[in-house]
C-alpha cells in the first residue's frame, strides 16, 4: 500500500496521519503539497484535519479549489481510496465527493474530547477489520461537525448503507443525549455509494497507539492492508 497525505496551508494533523502510516503500520507514505497534481502509484489519499485556508468563507470551502483537488476527484472517480478526517471531511463535502454539508456545532462550542462512536457499516475497505455495531472511543475536535443533509439525501444515505459511523452512548445507544454536535441522525462519518471515499469527523489517527490512550482508530488504516 502506498499512501499520500495531502497538505493544505493550515492542515495540522498531516504529520500524525503520516506517522501512523509510516511508523505504526510500516507502510509507504508521502506528503502531497496542494499546489501539485497527484502522480500515479498511490493506493490511498488522506485529507487530514486542521484549518485549511483558516476556515475562511466556510470550513473546507477554499481547499476545494486547490490544484490538487482535481486530481483527488479523478483518483476517487477511478475507484482510488480517499479518506477525509475532520477538516478533510469538510473538504470532501464542499468538493461534492460526499453529499451534505457541515454547520456549526449546535452548542457553538469547539468540542475536543474522546467520544463513543459506533461502526454502522463494516463492509467498506476502511472498516472491514471492525465488527458491525462495535463501539469505538475516538477523539473529536471541531467547531463545525454538525452534519446536515436534506431528507432526500438522508434517505439515500440510509438506503445505500452510506452511514459508516454514528455518535452513540458508551453502551452503543444512538440517541439525542449521545449526539455531541447536533449532527442529523448522529452521523459521525459517511461514505460515497461505491464505498471508496470516506469522510469522518472523529480522528482515528489520534488513537492508533496504546501510548495515546487506545488504538481504536488504527483499523481505519490497517483495514486497507491485507
Amino acid at each position: 500500500m502506498k499512501y499520500g497525505v495531502v497538505v493544505f496551508p493550515g492542515s495540522n494533523w498531516d504529520h500524525d496521519c503520516y506517522h501512523v502510516v509510516k511508523h505504526v503500520l510500516r507502510e509507504s507514505v508521502e506528503y502531497l503539497w496542494h499546489e501539485k497534481e497527484i502522480t500515479n502509484g498511490f493506493d490511498c489519499l488522506v485529507l487530514p484535519g486542521g484549518f485549511s485556508y483558516g476556515d475562511y468563507l466556510r470550513a473546507g470551502a477554499l481547499a476545494m479549489f486547490s490544484k490538487i483537488m482535481r486530481s483527488v476527484k479523478d483518483f476517487a472517480d477511478r475507484g482510488g481510496l480517499v479518506v477525509g478526517i475532520c477538516n478533510g471531511f469538510q473538504i470532501l463535502l464542499e468538493a461534492g465527493l460526499l453529499p451534505g454539508a457541515m454547520q456549526r456545532n449546535k452548542t457553538l462550542k469547539f468540542i475536543s474530547k474522546f467520544t463513543p462512536v459506533k461502526v454502522v457499516n463494516n463492509a467498506i475497505p476502511f472498516t472491514r477489520k471492525y465488527q458491525a455495531g462495535e463501539v469505538l472511543n475516538i477523539p473529536i475536535a471541531h467547531a463545525e461537525g454538525n452534519y446536515f443533509a436534506s431528507d432526500e439525501t438522508l434517505k439515500r444515505l440510509r438506503d445505500n448503507g452510506q452511514i459508516v459511523f454514528q455518535y452513540c452512548s458508551p453502551e452503543g445507544e444512538i440517541d439525542g443525549a449521545s449526539n455531541p454536535n447536533g449532527s442529523i441522525d448522529n452521523i459521525a462519518g459517511i461514505c460515497n455509494e461505491k464505498g471508496n471515499v470516506l469522510g469522518m469527523m472523529p480522528h482515528p489517527e489520534r488513537c492508533a497507539e496504546l501510548i495515546l490512550g487506545n488504538d481504536h482508530g488504527l483499523r481505519v488504516f490497517s483495514s486497507l492492508s491485507s
Binding site: A101, Q103, K106, T107
Partner: protein, 85 residues
C-alpha cells in the same frame, strides 16, 4: 460595476448562531425579537461594463464559491461604479 452579494441560510436549515444571537438580544432586554437568521455579505468590484455579463459572472461566483448550495441561497444587486457601497 459594483455588486452587493447576500448569502443566507435556506429555510428549514437550523442556524445555531442566529438562535444564540436571538437569545442574547432577549437577555439584554430586547423583547419581541422572535427570530434571527445569520448570513454573509460581500462587496465585489468587477471590470465588466455590461450588466448582463456581470450578472452571469456573479451567478457563477455565488454558485461555485460564495454559497454552499446544499444549505444556502444567494442574491445580489449590481450597482454603477459611482455609487458608494
Amino acid at each position: 460595476m459594483k455588486a452587493k452579494v447576500y448569502v443566507t441560510l435556506k429555510e428549514g436549515v437550523l442556524d445555531p448562531q442566529g438562535k444564540t444571537i436571538r437569545h442574547a438580544l432577549n437577555n439584554i432586554g430586547f423583547q419581541g425579537v422572535n427570530e434571527v437568521r445569520m448570513g454573509k455579505y460581500f462587496e465585489i468590484r468587477l471590470d465588466d461594463q455590461d450588466q448582463e455579463a456581470a450578472s452571469e459572472k456573479l451567478k457563477r461566483i455565488c454558485h461555485e464559491m460564495l454559497s454552499n448550495p446544499v444549505i444556502e441561497n444567494y442574491r445580489f444587486e449590481i450597482l454603477p461604479e459611482k455609487v458608494d457601497l
